[in-house]
Amino acid sequence: MITAEQKPIQEIIQYIAPYSKILLVGCNECVTVCAAGGRKEVGLLASALHLNHLKQGKNIDIREITLERQCDPEYVEELAPYIDGVDAVVSMACGCGVQTIAARFKKTPVFPAVNTRFMGASVSQGVWSERCKGCGDCVLGITGGICPVARCSKHLFNGPCGGTSNGQCEVSPDIDCAWRLIWERLKELGMESRYEELMEAKDWRPGGAGGPGTIIREDLA
């Protein structure tokens, strides 16, 4: 899941300062699940903006819509009937959603209301942690199901650096050393020998270094 957090309210207020008619768009996928941009957050943000404007003695008209998925043009199309009636769009989806809207509606400015953070998993209610960097060449099969790319602060392969201390990362004692976790997991699995196998230098091109990624499924496209 893609995780996000709401931007500081002042930043959002600055974006929309010149406008009086806003379309506030939520997304019923990842940002709903991570409680950043679902129907409830849309309602809360709209109320906060209303309060701010009333306090300033200004009027603002906010229409709230939550799409099933903002990163699909078909769903974004549902905004078409309203787009001409508004001065700006504020999206509470991840960056993909914001750009899908921007691509569809050329004349209306669109502003993000959340900061997209990472691909992560739920640890417990209200807590999410980064688990994947999208490197394009998954090594989890070798590293016991624990990702050194996402979870080692230095994205190291072939064991920990000298900064590991009591099994924690030198960046912060709250971060587990990924390689300590990998070692413990391999031991539990009786696959310690894997640790001896050297991994070659990683090709970072599929992970972004080769330019924006694209997937084309010939059979579907």
Partner: protein, 1014 residues
């Protein structure tokens, strides 16, 4: 004495139980019976039910106001459909036998039609001729209503004080005055009778030494309550009658008229006066000033109830209530100041002292009045030597006449919680003589089908109560109505006086029908007490019960803003706008029910558990007894004789035999509870049972906790190390098995409060004083020359146990007081057992040679066991590890967790007969719950909009009851029959896919809009 009563149950159809006396005990008994679907008639000689408790200011040990806790019970009393109330009515004859009595009742004229009376108070205003009204200080009118929440909610007239009847009739706009009202005689079939007449309080004016009735500033305990009470004669200001000034020094004198041998005294102890004196002293300091000096003159401080000892300690140590151990002789009044001089002597000083007080409170106790004595004659029941009802030794709610049961103070002096316990027990016994009423098993059957209102535009009726002066005294109801009647969709807006009176309710029904209303707003009091009443009203006219909205104009407006009528007026309009806007969005809701499991689980197989199980099983309820020991019987197995002289062993054996033979009881010994789940009415409890510890699961609707307590054996005074130091239980056995050993003893010393009333176990064990007296009497009976010394701190032989205490003194048992700072010492001198103690009267240390030392060790809670069960069942405990009931005063056998009931020594230490009573009470309360047959889950449940659900799992994670789950369609599902309606999921759902019915977003937003509407 054992009464031969429960031999057979004679069932009679369409009969009822007659409950005599509408105090808290009678009300509890009547409500229990009504809740278990038995028809009940509650009669009271007074014009309103409520009894003594409604006159109290606050109650111990919580120091809460009484009316707030008792009045919901009273209004509930007016609501039950199986319950009829006849005030101003007495029983004049009872013929026939249990199950088929014929009762003759005489109802005095009230001169007011209770159906028409709206309790507006006009008659009281016009005819305020002062009459004295017991208890003494309240100047009352001839048309008199005792307190604002009276049931029935109507006045009554003393016609002998009215000269101009026509003028009186004119005053009443409701036309409720009935000048020609006559006494009415009714004869009716009755299956059983519950006596709950209580007793009067002793009138100290007959004593010549305390100045009662002669000195202005000498009052009784009850008069003091009235002075402190907000509904009392001085509007809740503590002032002296002589000069209207606040007293600085108040004294209480205990045992006035009780525990005495003088003329006008009674020998027994009234049980409640120590606690009420402590309470009054504490409340005095709490509410009227830290600086008021309070002094209590007492003989023995009898704080033997649950948690009461800590209350006593708090009064003494935190509130600095001064305790003087003395029974004062005389009170003299100073003619100039009207102050009072008390003459008294204390044990360690040889001269009499005099001390001056501003006010003296006489702690008077209970007396059976002459009317009650006459009634007993009509009933043909035996009385004891003190004119209270003679009751069975093992089953105190049985009188000498089968089918007639007794509870409360009329059985023996007792406080409110014990009265409540006995009332529920008496109700449970009375219920065995008649079947469950077949009328209206399903409450909904009484109502017409619901009208379908879909597609109708809202048509709102707004009805505003004035509630006498409560609302009408602050608001101008007509102006409020003018302000809201122009709101959209409001079709009618009318004043309704007392909206909850039957006449007003009828008027509202007519208007709903006439104007085709489909939404109703009631501007009145709290939905907490009155919502059901108005919901039922809507059902009667064929509307769904969720189409009414209550606006609390009283508690939340006129009461709080009494001195700002203009602002209150403005707020009333706003609150009504909120109600109108809200009700517009209301829609019909369906209530969800589940069938209730009809089995019972009884945890603990002692006397308490077995008694409760038998009571339930006799009513056809499948009952499981889970006992961890290898056999039934519990602590009573180690008890030989009761203080009344009855043998315990055969009684216990009979119980065990009856339980074992009963087809509805399954006994599981050597069994422990290992898991528990479910909800009230549908529990599942896992046990491991037998020597092999096999796992077994029990489905049950109710649970009774009867896990008992442990006999304490603290290593004090040489117990366990010095020969011939034993406990009272050991002595009890010795007396039964080897009396010759006791006969050979010259001197026996008993020590009280061993391991009780001290650090580690601060409360009183209640049973030890009577145990010591019991054994002392037995020793004296078989060996009159044996000297018995009882070293005590306070002798707590409450109620009629005082008779045994007095007898022990008469027989020469020597009682020597000791204090915690100066404890007795047990030692061995050359193999001789010697007890050293301080004698306060001689003011010197003395040594007593003893052939044996008997320690009164009492009971302690089974900490480990109650802790395990408390965790498993989610139940609260007291600081000293007993289970904690829901309300120490009014719900002493119900636990806070619905479906759990508590009895016996798991609640607090008590003697065997008290355990039996509480067991019956718990069984009775459990039956009232099972009688409902279904669990009403209400309509307020969470519903999921599948289209909006993002399957995020947040509802699954936050639900405290683990109800939501992601179903096969990949969306959250919340089953209505499992949902508790707490609303946590609805608040958390990030997709706004969950709504809590009756608290939906649009309803709340509409109410907010209403609030800010201009």
């Amino acid at each position: 004495m054992q009464m031969n009563q429960n031999s057979e149950n004679i069932l009679s159809k369409d009969r009822r139980v007659l409950v005599i006396g509408g105090g808290v005990g009678g009300i509890r008994a009547a409500l229990d019976l009504a809740e278990s679907r038995r028809n009940v008639l509650l009669i009271d000689k007074s014009y309103a039910i409520g009894g003594l408790m409604t006159q109290l200011d606050r109650t111990f040990p919580t120091n809460n106001c009484d009316l707030c806790t008792v009045s919901p019970h009273l209004s509930q009393g007016g609501r039950e459909k199986y319950l009829e109330i006849k005030p101003m009515t007495c029983l004049t004859g009872l013929t026939g036998e249990a199950g088929a009595f014929s009762a003759t009742l005489m109802t005095e004229p009230r001169y007011i039609d209770t159906e028409k009376c709206t309790a507006c108070g006009e008659c009281a205003k016009q005819f305020p001729d002062a009459v004295r009204f017991t208890p003494g200080l309240d100047p009352r009118a001839p048309t008199c209503m005792r307190y604002p929440q009276a049931t029935p909610f109507a006045f009554s007239i003393d016609m002998s004080k009215i000269t101009d009847v026509e003028a009186l009739k004119k005053v009443c706009k409701a036309g409720a005055i009935l000048p020609e009202d006559q006494p009415k005689k009714t004869v009716m079939d009755v299956a059983s009778v519950v006596l709950s007449m209580g007793a009067d309080l002793f009138d100290p004016n007959v004593l010549d030494n305390f100045g009662g009735g002669r000195f202005d500033n000498v009052v009784t305990g009850l008069e003091y309550e009235r002075i402190m009470s907000a509904s009392g004669p001085f509007q809740g200001n503590l002032v002296r009658k002589s000069d209207g000034k606040r007293p600085k020094k108040v004294a209480w004198i205990q045992c006035v008229g009780s525990r005495g041998i003088n003329r006008a005294d009674v020998p027994y102890c009234s049980s409640v006066c120590c606690m009420y004196a402590l309470k009054e002293a504490m409340v005095t300091k709490e509410r009227f000033g830290e600086d008021i000096e309070t002094t209590i003159f007492f003989m023995d401080m009898r704080t033997h109830g649950k948690g009461y000892e800590e209350y006593y300690n708090r009064a003494r140590d935190e509130y600095n209530v001064r305790m003087v151990r003395s029974r004062p002789h005389t009170i003299l009044e100073k003619p100039d100041t009207k102050n009072l001089s008390i003459a008294y002597a204390v044990e360690d000083k040889s001269v009499q002292q005099n001390e001056e007080f501003d006010m003296v409170v006489l702690s008077t106790g209970f007396r059976v009045n002459s009317e009650t004595k006459a009634l007993a004659q009509n009933l043909g029941i035996q009385l004891n030597e003190h004119d209270f009802a003679e009751s069975d030794h093992f089953n105190p709610v049985l009188t000498s006449r089968p089918g007639v049961y007794v509870c409360g103070v009329y059985e023996s002096p007792k406080d409110i919680p014990e009265t409540m316990v006995q009332a529920s027990a008496a109700a449970a016994m009375a219920a065995t003589n008649l079947p469950v009423s077949s009328a209206g098993l399903n409450g909904e059957d009484m109502f017409p089908p619901e009208r379908d209102i879909t597609g109708e535009d809202p048509r709102i009726g707004v009805f505003v109560c004035d509630c006498g002066f409560e609302i009408g005294g602050v608001l101008n109801v007509a102006n409020v109505l003018d302000a809201v009647k122009t709101r959209p969709d409001v079709v009618v807006a009318e004043p309704v006086g007392y909206g909850c009176s039957s006449e007003s309710m009828a008027k509202i029904e007519v208007m709903i029908t006439k104007h085709k209303l489909n939404r109703v707003v009631i501007g009145g009091c709290s939905p907490r007490t009155h919502e059901t009443k108005f919901q039922d009203l809507l059902r009667r006219v064929g509307l769904n019960r969720y189409l009414v909205e209550m606006v609390n104009l009283r508690d939340q407006n006129t009461w709080t803003h009494m001195n700002e009528p203009e602002k209150a007026q403005e707020k009333a309009v706003k609150l009504l706008q909120v109600g109108i806007a809200g009700v517009r969005t209301n829609h019909p809701l369906r209530e969800h029910t589940l069938p209730m499991n009809q089995n019972a689980l009884v945890v603990g197989g002692g006397v308490t558990g077995m008694t409760a199980a038998l009571k339930l099983a006799d009513q056809g309820i499948k009952t499981y007894i889970v006992e961890r020991a290898p056999s039934l019987g519990g602590l009573a197995r180690s008890l030989r004789k009761t203080i009344e002289g009855d043998d315990v062993a055969p009684f216990v054996q009979n119980l065990v035999d009856a339980v074992t033979a009963h087809s509805n009881i399954q006994v599981l010994t050597r069994s422990v509870i290992v898991d528990h789940s479910g909800m009230p009415g549908l529990f599942k409890t896992g046990i491991q049972t037998g020597v092999r510890m096999n796992y077994m699961q029990i489905d049950h609707g109710v649970t009774i906790l009867a896990t008992g307590a442990l006999a304490n054996r603290p290593p004090q005074y040489g117990l366990g190390t010095i020969d011939n130091v034993m406990t009272q239980l050991d002595m009890d056995s010795l007396l039964a098995d080897e009396p010759e050993k006791v006969q050979a003893m010259d001197q026996i010393v008993m020590i009280q409060c061993v391991g009780s009333r001290e650090e580690g176990n601060p409360n009183c064990s209640r049973i030890c004083c009577q145990a010591a007296v019991k054994n002392a009497l037995k020793i004296k009976a078989i060996s009159p020359d044996t000297e018995v010394f009882i070293l005590y701190r306070d002798m707590r032989t409450y109620g009629f146990l005082e008779d045994y205490y007095r007898k022990a003194r008469d027989l020469g048992v020597k009682f020597i007081r000791f204090s915690l700072e100066n404890r007795p010492r047990v030692r061995q001198d050359d193999g001789e057992l010697v007890v050293g103690t301080h004698d306060y009267v001689l003011d010197s240390d003395i040594d007593i040679a003893a052939d044996c030392v008997v320690l009164s060790t009492g009971l302690v809670a089974d900490d480990e066991n109650t802790e395990d069960l408390a965790l498993m069942f989610h139940l609260p405990r007291t600081e000293d590890h007993y289970f904690l009931e829901d309300h120490v005063k009014l719900r002493p056998v119900d636990m806070a967790q619905r479906g759990f009931f508590l009895a016996g020594t798991a609640h607090s230490p008590k003697v065997i007969r008290e355990c039996i009573t509480q067991a019956q009470a718990a069984a009775g309360r459990a039956q009232t719950m099972l009688a409902k047959k279904e669990i009403n889950l209400g309509a307020c449940v969470a519903v999921v909009d599948e289209k909006k659900c993002a399957s995020c799992l947040i509802c699954v994670r936050v639900c405290p009851f683990d109800v939501p789950f992601i179903n096969a369609d990949g969306v959250s599902q919340i089953d209505a029959d499992k949902c508790h309606g707490c609303g946590v999921c609805a608040g958390e759902c990030p997709a706004k896919a969950i709504q809590l019915l009756a608290y939906e977003d649009d309803q709340i937003l509409a109410k907010l809009d209403g609030l800010f509407e201009r």
